[in-house]
């Protein structure tokens, strides 16, 4: 499955939620579908996007938080899965796009290309629900099940190691400034809290 198609399939749900992504293709492709003030793209600090999502979910149980992670990032913070499994906020959904490579730095294969199974690691870390999917329909079903459930879910979605820079994107750099995104996101979350 193409990651862009997977993102398209869940975009109507993402639009209404708080979303934290990793850097690279995931960030650029989600922006190409339409940036929203509730989307934060962690353009570095590899590994801790899931920790940021966990922090938001624990501090604001009334918000629904989605983390869009990747195999390279999870491998850099595998202990973070055990922290998520320990606190397991029900308002958090954790998607891992697993293209078995470090795509944005030349496509070098990660350990998942040699059999490391991140869904099994997540389950063994105590994440209460895990899914492993490899086509768009199964991914959308798993994602909707995760949203409807009140359990932290990690969905490992096997995707192609393929990336074509969307329009107005140079390589992986979009026209949204890092800090513009960061301050807009914080302000948006504050407005969500004030609405309640």
């Amino acid at each position: 499955m193409r990651r862009l198609e997977a993102l398209q399939a869940i975009y109507p749900e993402l639009e209404r939620r708080v979303v934290v992504t990793i850097m690279g293709a995931v960030a650029a492709e989600l922006q190409s579908l339409g940036h929203r003030p509730g989307f934060f793209y962690l353009q570095h600090a590899m590994g801790i996007a899931s920790s940021i999502g966990l922090g938001i979910a624990l501090c604001r149980p009334e918000l629904e938080v989605v983390v869009l992670d990747g195999d390279g990032s999870v491998l850099m913070n595998m202990g973070g899965l055990t922290t998520m499994g320990r606190y397991r906020p029900p308002n958090l959904t954790h998607v891992v796009f697993d293209n078995e490579s470090l795509l944005s730095v030349g496509g070098f294969p990660t350990a998942t290309s040699a059999g490391s199974d991140l869904a099994a690691v997540a389950a063994a870390s105590g994440i209460p629900a895990t899914e492993r999917v490899s086509d768009v329909d199964a991914f959308a079903d798993a994602f909707n099940r995760a949203l409807a459930s009140d359990r932290l879910t990690t969905i490992v979605a096997k995707v192609d190691a393929h990336y074509e820079a969307p329009a107005r994107t140079k390589g992986f750099v979009t026209d949204l400034g890092l800090l513009e995104n960061r301050f807009q996101f914080a302000r948006h979350l504050r407005s969500l809290v004030e609405e309640r």
């Binding site: 590994g47 996007a49 899931s50 920790s51 922090g55 624990l58 501090c59 800090l179 914080a186």
Partner: protein, 172 residues
Amino acid sequence: MPVSVDSSRIVYDALKACGVELVSALPETWLVHLIRMADDDPEMILVRLAKEEEGVGLSAGAHFAGKRSAMLMQNHGFLASINGIVSGAQLFRIPLLMLVSDRGTFGEPDPWQTEGGLVTEHVLHALRIPFERLDTREQVAPRVAKAMTLAHASNRPAALLLGRDLMWEEGA
């Protein structure tokens, strides 16, 4: 265990006084009472980490969610968190209050702590992270409050080094 309960209480109260609602921590000897106090406090969100760098993400998430937070860690944990601090907290301008137990200084009996003690302040300087030491009980409340104020005014990390004379009650 000669870790000072009274000093730990003063540090914990100082965190509460400046509005901290989430603490992330990885246990080390000098921090045991502080972590227990956070665990016993029904108003505090305590997140026990596998590795300290996660705490930078937790604090960023807490900040986005409108809550003040603090990281509790040993100086070796600070050293283990540096990429998260630089390309997370500094790149994205996150106010980040770090309380770092400063092991490996004068009086350190554990050989394995001694290298970290030599480099901690230099690394803080290199990262341009403003810091002060907490060596006496009188220093704690004002310095914690001022560090929190600066972290939020600058949208950057600020650090407090917990010293042996504050945290340890037996002469080494």
